[in-house]
Symmetry: C2
Subunit: 389 residues, 2 copies
């Protein structure tokens, strides 16, 4: 059955590209030395060079220098390291005060909540109905003694892009460091840290057909940050742990495989699904922004039906789609993102997130929207909510 | 040239087994869903089952239950999570006091040093000339209010095995938690947590021909431990971050591939290299214990020569060998392990660590010891240290 499934959820971008595995293989089977074994040890030097080339590829993709990139085990570690590392470095220099947006994904949001328990003041900045950050509220919340601001580049559920340049300039003017979780925009929407004064940027391989368990953190030169994971002296003594060289090489290959043409194609799928849903299915709401949106995300509420029921019916028909965020799908809690943009529980529970990847086609989109239309009609026919309408 | 190299350093056990990659592939290309997407989503359920089966394999290998195993990004993260998570959970219940051995690898040793900077008292327990822990010193150092004891199972450089059962029983009697870094013994030397009352155990895939960037932490049921990496609710809300399912499956496969016969074979290689070195090369010292030793390690000091020079000459002849530990090889500092067992700087710098893996043969061992004999003779002929002898 799996062979026939069509994936339009976060798995769509998580499937490994075969070319990525081919790039990784030499570092599993031929050049498998520890990169730190650099004295009189040719394979160790080859391993180190591969690691450095991968680092350069990631750096070049955002206008950084290689020394500013640290490899991690993924976006969750990157964001933990960024926020906790900076907070530790500034503990006696700034106030115990950090600022995040209301829509952050769990690595940032739950780190912020952990900070609150440890005596930090945390401001959660509001967003408008499209998910766009209130810049005035941010300006008013920042003081020169704020330790760190962490505002995501793109949202994990509704795909809203923040004006990260404006946010970074506000932080820079106030002399406060900015971290941004770019997990859901990286390579899909350009960001150039040589122009945008963001200080730390979280990136991950798993959202762009790269390997699981690999991410990176951009750390602008001179940014005060303590070591978070203690141990060996890897990554210029910034992140301990045996280097995952096959992972780093695979990450770099995944970055190289993303093209502007592919991003345009993903955007065409996104716009097609939104257009067909709005034209053909009554009572739908696009969640997020029409213009400030990543190319590979469409999040739509189908009112009067449950997202869980829809995903179940879609699964039986061979379509994989998520409701809410990847992390939420384990619980039945309402999405803090939909609530954050002013939606109610009904809107949160009736939302489907479509995420597009390299292996999707226009035919997939047409097939799924046909199926969604039929399922929504069936479910509404038996919905007490819809009757009352 | 690489094709002709013979690896007898830590890379020997880091080379991925082809069977491991074959086991991982379906989770890269076919079942690549997020394991948490469990509502109405068949691929997510398949992914979750694969993760659970892998967890059960790791658990069974040490006599634990699956719920007691948390997957991590490797041994460094496992040890950080164990020590920092327990310390945070016990912050207001026990003294700011932890105990480690003098020979710990960097994840534990440098976490302990970081704790000292944060106001903790850390006791570093001595070892004898073979690297075996002084149990009396441990007993005297522990109080009922000690937060945690962390003693490695096997040493990373000299392969000395601690009597982890005796250590665990001492801790249990005193009512103090014990963490053990078993990175360098896992699957090579049995440990059964249903009999040995260790509370937390660090394991890693990269030392047994498994994938890089994957490890596990055993956490005995009921052990107080705070979440260290914040974010999503993965791993029963104990470790945040998208599950690396291909990695977990590869780790489990690597565990299954280790057999008692293989461990006996590795032991025969170890004993053969030690025998030939001692019989054929003058002025050598075996570092570590003859009897209490992992099967895949031999660490030998060749007096009056520099380990760095030996590795360089061996590399040119097509042999990869390490001096000191993997982490030390970046710097020229003397190994704290050799110093810890009472060796001086000369002994530390003249030591070679041979590590044996699945792909080594008796012929490799004979070839390398032939080469070592010749190189040592050459280097000694030009060594001012040797002249003075």
């Amino acid at each position: 059955m799996l062979d026939k499934m069509i994936y339009l959820d976060n798995a769509a971008s998580t499937r490994l590209d075969e070319k990525v595995l081919e790039a990784m293989k030499p570092y599993y089977f031929d050049i498998y030395a520890v990169a730190t074994s650099e004295f009189g040890y040719s394979m160790g030097i080859d391993a180190k060079e591969a690691l450095q080339e991968s680092r350069q590829t990631i750096a070049s993709s955002i206008g950084a220098s290689a020394e500013e990139i640290v490899f991690t085990s993924g976006d969750t570690e990157s964001s933990n390291m960024a926020i906790k590392g900076v907070a530790a470095a500034l503990l006696n220099k700034k106030d115990k005060h950090i600022i995040v947006s209301k829509l952050e994904d769990f690595p940032v949001l739950n780190t912020a909540k952990a900070f609150e328990k440890n005596g930090y003041k945390v401001d959660y900045i509001s967003v408008d109905s499209e998910g766009i950050l209130d810049l005035e509220e941010l300006k008013n919340a920042i003081t020169e003694n704020t330790a760190l601001v962490s505002i995501q580049h793109a949202n994990q559920e509704i795909g809203t892009l923040q004006d990260i340049e404006a946010i970074a300039n506000i932080c820079k003017e106030k002399g406060v460091l900015l971290h941004s979780d770019a997990t859901h925009s990286y390579t899909r929407v350009p960001i150039d840290v040589s122009k945008v004064p963001v200080d730390l940027l979280t990136m991950s391989a798993h959202t762009i057909h790269g390997p699981r368990g690999v991410g990176a953190l951009y750390i602008r030169e001179g940014t005060p940050i303590n070591k978070w994971m203690d141990g060996g002296f890897q990554e210029s003594n910034r992140r301990a742990g045996l280097e995952n060289i096959p992972g780093a090489v695979g990450f770099a290959k995944a970055v190289e495989l993303v093209t502007p043409e592919e991003n345009e194609f993903l955007k065409s799928l996104r716009d097609h699904i939104i257009k067909r849903a709005e034209e053909e299915i009554p009572d739908v709401t696009l969640n997020g922004s029409r213009s400030q949106r990543v190319p590979h995300n469409a999040n739509i509420t189908f009112h009067y039906v449950e997202g869980e029921s829809m995903t179940l019916h879609l699964d039986m028909r061979g379509f994989a789609v998520s409701t809410g965020s990847a992390c939420f799908s384990r619980s039945l809690e309402a999405s803090h993102v939909i609530l954050g943009i002013g939606g109610d529980h009904e809107r949160a529970h009736g939302s489907l997130r479509f995420t597009f990847g390299r292996y999707n086609t226009k035919e997939d989109v047409d097939a799924i929207i046909d199926a969604v239309g039929e399922i929504v009609e069936q479910l509404r026919a038996i919905s007490p909510l819809y009757e009352k309408k």
